[in-house]
C-alpha cells in the first residue's frame, strides 16, 4: 500500500533516467540521510539511547562507514567489472601510507606537508595509479590467474610497508600516527565529528559510484564482466574499460584506506592492511551482493556485526564463549554463509532487498 508507484508518470526522459525513479525511494533515501546527518549526531550529542557511551559511534558506525566505502570500491572491480582481486587490502594500505607521506611532507623532493583533505585525495590517486599498474596483467589474463596477480600486489606491498623505511618516515617501530585532522580550520577530533567526516566522504563517493555504475562506463564494465569477447565485438575497448575499473576501484579503496588509518585507527602498523583485510572485503562484497552499491553497505554491516553479536548474545544467554571460540565460530559462519549464498542467492543480501521491494509493490493484494 505504501510502496506503490502507481500514478507516478514519467513525462520526460530526464525523469525516466533519474537515479531513484520511484518517489518512495527518494523519500526513503532523504529520510536515511537526514537520520545519518542530523539524527545520529544529535542523539550522540545528548547521549540518548542507544548512544549512551561513544561505543556505538566509535566502534561500530565509524568502521562500518569506512569499510562500506572500501567495499564499494571492491564491488566496482569485482561486482561490476568481474575482475577478481585479492589485493584490496594492499590498495587500502597504499592509500593510507601515501596519504601519510603527503600529509607529513616529502623533504627529499621539497614537498611541504599538505593539508589533510589534499593528502587523503592524493593517497587515493596514488592507489589508483598503482591499481592501473597491477591491472595491466588483466588485459592478458583473467579469472583465477588475475587473482594470483593481485595476490602478488598484496604480498609485495605488505613487505614494502614493513621494510621500506621511507614510507614510515624512518619510525623505528614501523608504526606511524596520522597528522591532526584539520579541514579548512575545522579540527576533527571528537567521535561525532569523525563520524560526520566519514559520512560525508561515503555519501559523496557512493553517489558518484552509483552514477558511474549506471552510466556509460558502468555499462561497459558490466558488458566486460558478462562476456568480454562479446563486449569487444560490440565496440567496447577492454583496455579502457578494465583499466578504468581498476583505477576507480583502487581510488575508492585508497580513500577508504586513508580514512581507515587517519580517522578510525589514528596510529597503525602494516598489519592493518594484510591479506585478512582483502578477504574480509571480498566477503563483504559477496555476502552483500555483487554489482550493487546497496550490497556493499549491507555486506559491510553484516561482517562487522556478526562478531559483536557472537560476543554479546551467548553471554546474555548465560553461556559465554571464549574469544578463541568466537573467532573460530566467526570463521565457520562466514565460510558457510559464503557457500550458502553462492548456491542459493548469488546476488547476496541486496537481491533479497529487491525481492522484498517487488513483494511490497503488490502488497497486500499479490495478484
Amino acid at each position: 500500500m505504501l510502496y506503490r508507484e502507481t500514478g507516478q508518470f514519467k513525462t520526460s526522459y530526464v525523469k525516466d533516467m533519474q537515479i531513484f525513479p520511484i518517489r518512495q525511494d527518494r523519500i526513503g533515501i532523504a529520510l536515511l540521510l537526514a537520520v545519518a546527518f542530523v539524527g545520529v549526531p544529535l542523539l550522540a550529542h545528548f547521549h540518548v539511547w542507544p548512544f549512551r557511551s561513544e561505543y556505538l559511534l566509535r566502534a561500530i558506525l565509524l568502521p562500518f562507514l569506512i569499510l562500506s566505502l572500501a567495499a564499494i570500491g571492491v564491488n566496482i572491480l569485482i561486482g561490476y567489472c568481474g575482475q577478481i582481486s585479492l589485493g584490496s587490502g594492499a590498495f587500502m594500505g597504499i592509500g593510507a601510507y601515501m596519504a601519510y607521506k603527503f600529509g607529513t611532507g616529502m623533504p627529499e623532493i621539497g614537498l611541504p606537508p599538505l593539508p589533510v583533505l589534499a593528502s587523503i585525495l592524493l593517497g587515493g590517486i596514488s592507489a589508483a595509479i598503482v591499481g592501473i599498474l597491477f591491472g595491466i596483467p588483466s588485459l592478458r589474463i583473467k579469472g583465477l590467474y588475475l587473482a594470483v596477480a593481485t595476490l602478488a600486489a598484496q604480498f609485495f606491498f605488505d613487505w614494502v610497508f614493513l621494510r621500506v623505511k621511507w614510507f614510515t618516515n624512518y619510525a623505528p617501530s614501523g608504526s606511524v600516527s596520522a597528522p591532526d585532522l584539520v579541514f579548512f580550520g575545522w579540527l576533527v577530533d571528537s567521535p561525532i565529528e569523525k563520524y560526520l567526516l566519514a559520512l560525508m566522504f561515503v555519501t559523496v563517493i557512493a553517489l558518484i559510484a552509483k552514477n558511474l555504475a549506471r552510466g556509460s562506463i558502468g555499462r561497459q564494465w558490466m558488458a566486460i564482466r558478462d562476456m568480454d569477447i562479446a563486449a569487444e565485438l560490440m565496440g567496447i575497448r577492454p583496455f579502457y574499460a578494465k583499466l578504468s575499473a581498476f583505477a576507480v576501484s583502487s581510488f575508492i579503496v585508497g580513500i577508504a584506506g586513508a580514512l581507515w588509518a587517519f580517522v578510525y585507527l589514528g596510529a597503525w602498523e602494516p598489519l592493518a592492511f594484510s591479506i585478512d583485510r582483502s578477504l574480509q572485503l571480498l566477503f563483504m562484497v559477496i555476502i552483500g551482493g555483487l554489482g550493487t552499491i546497496l550490497g556493499s553497505f549491507l555486506g559491510a554491516g553484516f561482517i562487522l556485526l556478526v562478531p559483536i553479536f557472537l560476543n554479546l548474545v551467548p553471554s546474555e544467554l548465560g553461556v559465554p564463549l571464549s574469544t578463541e571460540t568466537i573467532s573460530h565460530l566467526e570463521f565457520i559462519i562466514f565460510g558457510s554463509l559464503i557457500c550458502f549464498l553462492l548456491i542459493k542467492e548469488p546476488h547476496g543480501f541486496a537481491r533479497l532487498w529487491s525481492l522484498a521491494k517487488e513483494k511490497l509493490r503488490l502488497w497486500p493484494f499479490p495478484y
Binding site: 621500506v164 578477504l279 573460530h328 565460530l329 570463521f331 565460510g335 557457500c339
Partner: protein, 309 residues
C-alpha cells in the same frame, strides 16, 4: 671456490624446500584437472590433516600406545577425516554449484577454507603442535671438496623422496587404474564422461579424497618442519605462484614450479635481499609468477589456453 660452496648449499636447500611447495601444489593440480575448480581450500586441508594427525598421535601416546601403532592409527584417523571433508565439500559445495563458472567455484572454495579452518581449530585446538615423524638433523656432505662441507637437512631429503614416491604413485593411479582413467575422462569433458556412464559425483569425491591424502602427506612434512599451526595455511598460499609458473594442469609442472620457486626465493633472498632490506622471500614467488603470467600465461607446462566463443 669459496663462493661456490655456499651457493650450492643454498641451491640444494632451496630445491628441497621447493619440494614442500610442490606437495601442496600437487593437490591443487589434481582438483583443477579433474573438476576445473581452483581449490583455495588446499592450504586449509593441509591444516586439517595435520591437526587431525598430530592430535590423534598425542591422544594415543598419552594412553600409552606403542609408537608404530599410534602413527598407523593416527594416519588412518587423519585419512578418515580427509574423507569426511571430501564427502562434505562434494555434497554441499560442489554438487549444488555444478556448471557454475570458475570464479563462483573459486569463491565457494574460499568459503570452504574458512569453514575448514574454523572447524579444525575448534575441534582440535589452535596452538602450535610439534610433530616428529622424520629426523630433522643435518648431514654434512662433500666436506673434502668445500671448506666446511655442505649442510643438508635430512627432513628436506625425506620430503623429496616422499614427493617423488607420491608423483610416481599418482602417475600409476592415473594411467593404470580404472578410477584413474575415469578421472582423466572427467577432466577432459564432464558431459561426455557422464554420457558414457562415469558417475561424476563419485569421481569428484575420489579426487577430493586423493587431494586430501596429498594434503595429509604434505602435512606430515610441513608439520615436522614447522609444527602444525595455523600459519601453515599461509605458506600453502605459496602453492599458487608455483601453479602459475608450472601450469595449472600439469603434475610435472607442479614439481618443477615448486623447485623453481624454492630455489629462486632462497637464492634471491641471499644474493638480492641483502641489498634491498631482506625478507623478500615473502613476495618473490608471487612477483616471479606475475612475470611468468605476462610472458606465458599458461605456465611452463600447462595446456595452451584457447578462447572459444
Amino acid at each position: 671456490m669459496s663462493l661456490l660452496g655456499p651457493f650450492i648449499e643454498v641451491l640444494i636447500g632451496g630445491l628441497l624446500a621447493g619440494v614442500l611447495y610442490s606437495l601442496v601444489a600437487l593437490g591443487f593440480v589434481l582438483i583443477f584437472k579433474a573438476s576445473g575448480v581452483f581449490n583455495f581450500a588446499q592450504g586449509a586441508m593441509v591444516l586439517v590433516a595435520g591437526l587431525a594427525l598430530v592430535r590423534s598421535l598425542d591422544f594415543l601416546a598419552a594412553r600409552g600406545a606403542p609408537v608404530w601403532a599410534a602413527i598407523a592409527l593416527g594416519l588412518v584417523f587423519a585419512a578418515l577425516v580427509m574423507a569426511v571433508c571430501a564427502f562434505a565439500i562434494e555434497k554441499w559445495v560442489l554438487r549444488p554449484l555444478l556448471n557454475q563458472d570458475g570464479l563462483t567455484l573459486f569463491m565457494a572454495t574460499i568459503g570452504a577454507t574458512f569453514v575448514l579452518e574454523g572447524l579444525a581449530q575448534m575441534v582440535f585446538g589452535s596452538d602450535v603442535y610439534p610433530l616428529r615423524l622424520f629426523p630433522t638433523d643435518v648431514w654434512i656432505v662433500l666436506d673434502g671438496v668445500f671448506p666446511g662441507g655442505i649442510l643438508i637437512n635430512k627432513l628436506d631429503v625425506w620430503g623429496g623422496l616422499i614427493a617423488g614416491a607420491l608423483v610416481g604413485g599418482l602417475a600409476i593411479f592415473f594411467q593404470k587404474t580404472k578410477t584413474g582413467r575415469a578421472l582423466r575422462a572427467v577432466a577432459d569433458d564432464h558431459a561426455a564422461a557422464q554420457s558414457v556412464g562415469i558417475p561424476i559425483s563419485w569421481i569428484w569425491f575420489v579426487v577430493w579424497l586423493v587431494a586430501g591424502l596429498v594434503a595429509l602427506v604434505a602435512a606430515t612434512v610441513w608439520g615436522t618442519k614447522l609444527g602444525v599451526q595455523f600459519s601453515i595455511t599461509f605458506l600453502a598460499l605459496k602453492a599458487l605462484p608455483v601453479l602459475i609458473i608450472g601450469g595449472f594442469t600439469s603434475v610435472p609442472g607442479a614439481i618443477v614450479g615448486g623447485l623453481i620457486v624454492g630455489a629462486g626465493e632462497k637464492i634471491a633472498e641471499i644474493y638480492l635481499g641483502s641489498h634491498i632490506g631482506g625478507g623478500i622471500e615473502y613476495w618473490f614467488a608471487y612477483v616471479l609468477a606475475l612475470a611468468v603470467l605476462l610472458v606465458r600465461p599458461q605456465g611452463l607446462f600447462g595446456e595452451k589456453i584457447i578462447e572459444r566463443i
